[in-house]
């Protein structure tokens, strides 16, 4: 870890003085790069870029950058040190990044989870809901109590879409099962996430979903209490060898390599990348050995159908909690509606805070 920091500092110096590389790429993460989690997945993207372009690129990494003035300072510094490609790893970096991109048309930027794009400012978002649909299939197959528990960070569209997708999947294989949701209203409070997990277990849940907890907090509870868990971010099966049913992970490597390559070729254009299973941006890994071969085969078949486009997680008829038909039979939920979803499907026991 420390070595990397020194390497990053050294890279800054080199870029600032000699400009030995063709392109300096700056990476800004909102959290420290741990063994698992959001920042770790972004950092794997950096490693892939370095592997792909070798000496042509230099990397500057700054971790744990809070959204706000600190982020603005870090990105300004990177640009004035000669970085011509920035990866902004958090939604809240948007406004400062856009401003800087406008003032420096020669600098290309890619921004996580954002919704504004310009010529030199692109965004990337994952369709993690596709992965959670597959996790939901596994959960529906494995539950014996027919209660699935979801520990959700915040009820924002991304997390709501994931909750809906997994619920539809659970219902598909197990119409008797119900899904209970607890919003903990924080991105980061591991003990609280664990309390929520225990609360769900006390309500009979025997499969948990850990939606957007960056640490293995819920996974360790699942392991200790003998229930299953599907988690976000990285493969966490080493923290819960008996508990992890599947891990829904982000894989940004291909996308980062492609965008940095475009910048090197002079063809970079700020786009709106929304990748799912088909693009390899979302991957479901670490399926539990407790799933039978037939069950895994069924999940894989659904995965293949999502990739080929034959099937879609939000295929109608989809009813909301009040019984209103939100998606008509035979239709699928349109992209803008998925990324702004603010209602829960029928069968979810819980509500979206206003």
């Amino acid at each position: 870890m420390r070595g990397k920091l020194i390497a990053a500092l050294a890279a800054t110096c080199i870029a600032g003085t000699a400009a030995a590389q063709e392109l300096t790429v700056g990476y800004i993460y909102p959290a420290p790069v741990a063994d698992v989690g959001w920042a770790k997945q972004l950092d794997l993207g950096r490693e892939a870029v370095e592997a792909a372009y070798g000496d042509r690129v230099a990397s500057v990494v700054v971790e744990s950058v809070p959204e706000g003035p600190d982020a603005a300072r870090v990105m300004n510094q990177m640009v004035s040190d000669g970085a011509e490609f920035l990866m902004l790893g958090s939604f809240g970096y948007m406004n400062d990044g856009l401003k800087l991109a406008q003032a420096n048309p020669n600098v290309a930027m890619i921004h996580a989870s954002g919704f504004r794009q310009t010529e030199n400012f692109g965004t990337f978002t994952s369709r993690a809901y596709e992965g959670f649909y597959l996790g939901g299939l596994a959960a529906g197959m494995m539950t014996e109590s027919n209660v699935i528990g979801v520990v959700g960070a915040f009820a924002i569209p991304e997390v709501v879409a994931e909750t809906n997708a997994l619920t539809l999947a659970v219902q598909k294989v197990n119409p008797d099962a119900e899904v209970k949701v607890i919003w903990i209203n924080t991105w980061f409070d591991p003990p609280k996430a664990q309390e929520a997990a225990r609360a769900l277990i006390s309500q009979g849940a025997d499969v948990l979903f850990s939606l957007h907890q960056d640490t293995p907090s819920v996974v360790t509870v699942a392991q200790a209490e003998g229930v299953y868990v599907v988690n976000t971010g990285s493969d966490m099966s080493s923290y819960g060898p008996d508990a992890v049913l599947a891990s829904v992970t982000h894989d940004w490597t291909d996308y980062f390599v492609r965008e940095v390559g475009a910048k090197l070729d002079g063809t970079f254009k700020g786009g709106d990348e929304r990748g799912g299973l088909a693009q390899g941006m979302v991957e479901v890994v670490a399926y539990s050995d407790d799933l039978s071969e037939e069950q895994v085969a069924m999940i894989k078949a659904t995965e293949a159908a999502f990739i080929s486009g034959e099937e879609h997680p939000f295929t109608g008829p989809v009813l909301d909690q009040d019984g209103n038909e939100r998606v008509a039979a035979g239709e699928v939920l349109a992209d803008p509606d998925i990324f702004s979803i603010d209602w829960l499907v029928q069968g979810v026991d819980g509500s979206i805070p206003e």
Partner: protein, 306 residues
């Protein structure tokens, strides 16, 4: 695990670290020193305990290491406010921020690492009772010790010579000084004791309840501790009640969401804090009672003239 069992055991698990740290803070504040660095002290205790256990130390050595690490940091606080007569509020905030940063720095190689849970020690016979057995009597030893610690703190402060000295220093340092009590020394040891308790509480969170380390693990619990001492009007019994009530309020907020009752979850998340504010407000409506028990010299710099 039934709902009631969960509520009972969850309340104890959530309330115990708050109680341990708050009892330490109570002793510190009783001598007239307001230490706002609890959050940072707990964070340092948490990482020290976690590192100890990760490298093969036992859980008790881990808690001890947590206590000692936080005590070392609180010694800096004690030096600044007692020797160089720094402002207690500002120094407390600064040391608190230092502690949080330090814990993150030291803890980097351990981010997202986990430890095995501490072995439980069910109380014979009682643990076999339905509902309350698994709820109240199947825990790690520290959970049973915390209420005893509250009892001991109450007794020492109320009925012993040591308690009288501590209180005298907090009520009127000049008078205490005039009868030969070494005010600064008493206060310094009270600061160290408070630091030790905060460190043990932090260690409890990292190695006993959460069984993992992550930067920012304490997530505001140190501030709850500061509020609890006020909430409990500087009485050990009420502080214990407050700590468990706070744990219960947090859990109820989470549990209600699963019952389908349509209450906004942000409101539920804020219930413990609202309860704290209401309690403080109600208590301050009886100013005489609070004033009777709040250490008179709390937060004031004591400059020994003779």
């Amino acid at each position: 695990m039934e709902t009631l069992t969960f509520l009972l055991s969850g309340t104890l698990i959530a309330g115990t670290p708050l109680l341990i740290a708050a009892l330490g803070a109570l002793v510190t504040e009783k001598t007239g020193v307001l230490n706002l660095s609890i959050e940072g002290l707990m964070a340092v205790g948490a990482i020290a305990a976690f590192i100890t256990v990760t490298h093969g130390g036992g859980y008790w050595s881990g808690l001890l290491a947590g206590g000692i690490a936080a005590m070392a940091l609180s010694a800096i606080f004690g030096f600044v406010v007692l020797v160089t007569l720094g402002n207690q509020v500002a120094t407390g905030l600064a040391i608190g921020i230092l502690g949080i940063g330090l814990s993150g720095l030291i803890g980097r190689p351990y981010d997202s690492a986990t430890v095995a849970p501490m072995a439980k020690m069910p109380v014979p016979f009682l643990a076999d009772l339905p509902v309350i057995g698994p709820g109240l009597f199947s825990h790690v030893p520290l959970i049973y010790l915390a209420p005893l610690m509250a009892l001991a703190t109450w007794w020492v402060l109320k009925s012993t010579k040591l308690g009288l000295r501590l209180r005298a220093v907090g009520e009127d340092p000049d008078a205490a000084n005039s009868i030969g009590i070494k005010v600064r020394r008493v206060r310094f040891f009270a600061v160290l004791y408070g630091g030790f308790c905060a460190g043990v509480a932090g260690g409890f969170i990292s190695i006993v309840s959460a069984t993992l380390w992550a930067d920012g693990l304490i997530a505001g619990r140190g501030w709850i501790v500061v509020a609890l001492v006020v909430f409990g009007t500087w009485r050990a019994g009420r502080i214990a009640l407050g700590a468990y009530l706070f744990g219960l309020a947090t859990l109820s907020g989470l549990l209600v969401q699963t019952t389908g009752v349509d209450i906004p979850s942000q409101l539920l998340s804020s219930v413990p804090y609202i309860v704290t504010i209401i309690a403080i407000t109600v208590l301050s409506m009886q100013p005489a009672r609070v004033r009777l028990n709040a250490p008179v010299s709390l937060g004031q710099v004591y400059h020994q003239t003779r």
